[in-house]
């Protein structure tokens, strides 16, 4: 049986202050995430706002990325409240982000939608790992392993949003709490 608390995949490395205009540029905000074809389309534009010298995130002609995990520095997702940002990443095939810290709204949107796991590292993993490395995240143990050399790095505890993440988003959480039907 698949363990949902294990995420395995290739990483894509980013720096500090990755803003929402880099994650999904404003010209694609005419797409509505709750319309299925537009959800997929958003995925194909994920990280389209990266600077011109950045490594390709989605290969030419592909709709999804080969990187299931993003490794970033501080203040990931700063800027806009656009929920299109965590949705574009998820639609592109990203399962988890491991950043040193997050901007508030991006983190919140990731938790509320349940689209991607916003995890926090305890060190600058973007200086240790490189794009393309394969890692395994163990959510229960709050750690990740670089599969190339079996080195393990710890993650910060998820904290007080854990119940919302475990429920799968704000609606599922509120239903569990009996707040809504």
């Amino acid at each position: 049986m698949e363990n949902n608390n294990i995420i395995k995949g290739k990483v894509y490395i980013l720096g500090d202050n990755i803003d929402t205009d880099q994650i999904i540029p404003a010209e694609y905000l005419n797409l509505v995430p709750t319309i299925p074809e537009e959800y997929d389309k958003l995925g194909s534009y994920a990280m389209a706002g990266l600077p011109l010298d950045a490594e390709q995130f989605i290969a030419e002609g592909e709709a999804k990325t080969e990187y299931q995990i993003m490794i970033a520095g501080a203040n990931f997702g700063c800027g806009s409240s656009r929920e299109h940002a965590p949705i574009a990443l998820s639609a592109a095939g990203v399962k988890a982000i491991i950043a040193e810290s997050y901007a508030r709204i991006f983190f919140r949107n990731s938790v509320s939608t349940g689209e991607v796991y916003p995890l926090e590292s305890t060190e600058s993993l973007n200086k240790v790992l490189k794009t393309g490395d394969e890692i395994e995240i163990d959510m229960d143990k709050e750690e990740l392993t670089n599969l190339a050399d079996n080195k393990t790095y710890s993650l910060k505890p998820i904290g007080d949003v854990a119940p919302v993440i475990a429920a799968g988003g704000i609606f599922a959480y509120a239903r569990k709490q009996g707040m809504i039907k």
């Binding site: 202050n17 905000l29 509505v32 709750t34 409240s81 929920e83 997050y102 509320s112 609606f171 809504i180």
Partner: protein
């Protein structure tokens, strides 16, 4: 009450006598704001979770102000406005400011308070990060995503974490060459783009009291550029006058305890501040305008919720009056009220529109967010290639105004206007 202003507002909204920073609480919402780029997705979430025939929790409290992609040929943008129109009609929403009608207003963060939807002591959520603007009137106001907004639409409640407060105290008498924009750019420069993450930024001091409501809005608008959850300024006589001329709905002014513990306090003396810019590509890249005199510009952009209000244009016109711009200069009013005031406000007997036309600015478009966030390729003022822009907007990320090769310097309307004349970044004192 013993807490900070933000804590006391949140306590009341959650039915508690006191809340503690870090605590997660359910709050009752007074206003939910949405617009054309996040409204359709919010409605999608609302219908999916509550049912296609579900009613919003309170139709008086859902305010829809389309403003982002209005004057474009983009088909999906038009489809999105139709989605809003249908929804507003079906739900019987009294506060839908529909494009193409006399009800159209323009930029939501300028229209929301101007139309009387912002009241001191209340809780406002909006599907736009610059919703923090409305803390300028002593409310708790912050940006949320579509899913949270869909939840609010159905329940009128939201689970939030109580932020710690960081205080910014501006004392002294503000010189006429210093604006709200210079004050907030300096604060962001000092604490950094993540310096207030998860925190309330509370602004006070004699220089804040002396500011107009519009200038206070400019300051609170940019709290998010330091990662702040909300920006807030205690309501005073000016606030009450502004609010009471716009709404008859009752509200309760809530005060903060000045001795309540804060995470940090920053003190400024306004006479010591300088006209400044935020250099590319982050709002915390503070530099004095004078130090950037060598930067050669290709265009100036005066508009947006931060820099497209009538007082912003009065400031710009005071510099441009009787002078000529040397680079492409875009004047983008935030709302229809601002457009109208450009015709009626005068300097030396000349309407602002005439001052801008004689200075050689581009023809003034209808009000909207326009190129502040790039948008579809046919958006007015969009940087479709490498441009070096001085702009009164609030963000200068890579690609923010369109092309990734463009460079954006954020500045006050005074500094933007002075720079438009010389073609280099220019301290407005050169023309004052």
């Amino acid at each position: 009450m013993t807490g900070t202003l933000t804590e006391n507002i949140l306590a009341k909204a959650s039915g508690k006598s006191k809340v503690i920073p870090g605590e997660n609480i359910w709050v009752n919402v007074d206003i939910l704001l949405t617009h054309d780029v996040c409204g359709p997705g919010t409605i999608g979430v609302f219908k999916k979770e509550f049912g296609t025939d579900a009613k919003v929790w309170n139709k008086e409290k859902v305010v829809i102000i389309p403003d982002h992609y209005i004057f474009t040929k983009d088909g999906k943008a038009h489809r999105n406005i139709e989605t809003l129109t249908e929804f507003a009609k079906k739900q019987g929403l009294p506060y839908y400011y529909q494009p193409g009608t006399d009800n159209y207003k323009g930029v939501c963060h300028v229209a929301l308070p101007a139309e009387g939807h912002v009241r001191p002591g209340e809780i406002i959520f909006g599907t736009d990060s610059h919703t923090c603007t409305h803390g300028a009137l002593g409310a708790f106001s912050t940006g949320i995503g579509n899913t949270d907004a869909g939840f609010v639409m159905g329940t009128g409640k939201l689970l939030i974490k109580v932020p710690e407060t960081i205080r910014f105290i501006f004392d002294g008498k503000k010189p006429n060459y210093i604006t709200g924009k210079d004050m907030i750019l300096r604060a962001i420069g000092d604490i950094g783009v993540a310096g207030a993450t998860y925190c309330a930024m509370e602004f006070s001091g004699e220089a804040i009291s002396a500011l107009s409501i519009e200038e206070r809005m400019t300051i609170c608008n940019m709290a998010i550029e330091a990662g702040g959850k909300n920006g807030i300024i205690a309501a005073d006589e000016k606030t009450l006058e502004y609010v009471k001329t716009r709404t008859s709905k009752p509200f309760e002014v809530i005060e903060g305890n000045p001795d309540a513990p804060a995470k940090a306090t920053y003190n400024y003396i306004c006479e010591e501040l300088e006209p400044c810019v935020a250099m590319p590509h982050l709002p915390d890249k503070y530099a004095t305008a004078t130090s950037q005199r060598e930067v050669k510009l290709t265009r100036a952009y005066i508009g947006s919720c931060t820099g497209g209000k009538i007082e912003d244009f009065i400031m710009a016109a005071s510099i441009l009056n009787g002078r000529k711009v040397s680079i492409n200069t875009f004047i983008v009013p935030a709302t229809t009220d601002v457009s109208a005031a450009l015709l009626t406000e005068t300097i030396d007997g000349k309407p602002l529109v005439q001052i801008f036309a004689e200075a050689g600015c581009e023809d003034i478009p209808l009000p909207s967010c326009a190129a502040c966030l790039g948008g579809p390729r046919d958006t007015f003022g969009r940087a479709n290639q490498r441009e070096i822009v001085i702009s009164t907007t609030n963000r200068n990320f890579v690609g923010r105004m369109g092309s990734k090769e463009a460079e954006i310097y954020l500045a006050s309307p005074l500094t933007a206007a002075a720079s438009a004349i010389t073609g280099n970044i220019t301290d407005p004192r050169e023309f004052m």
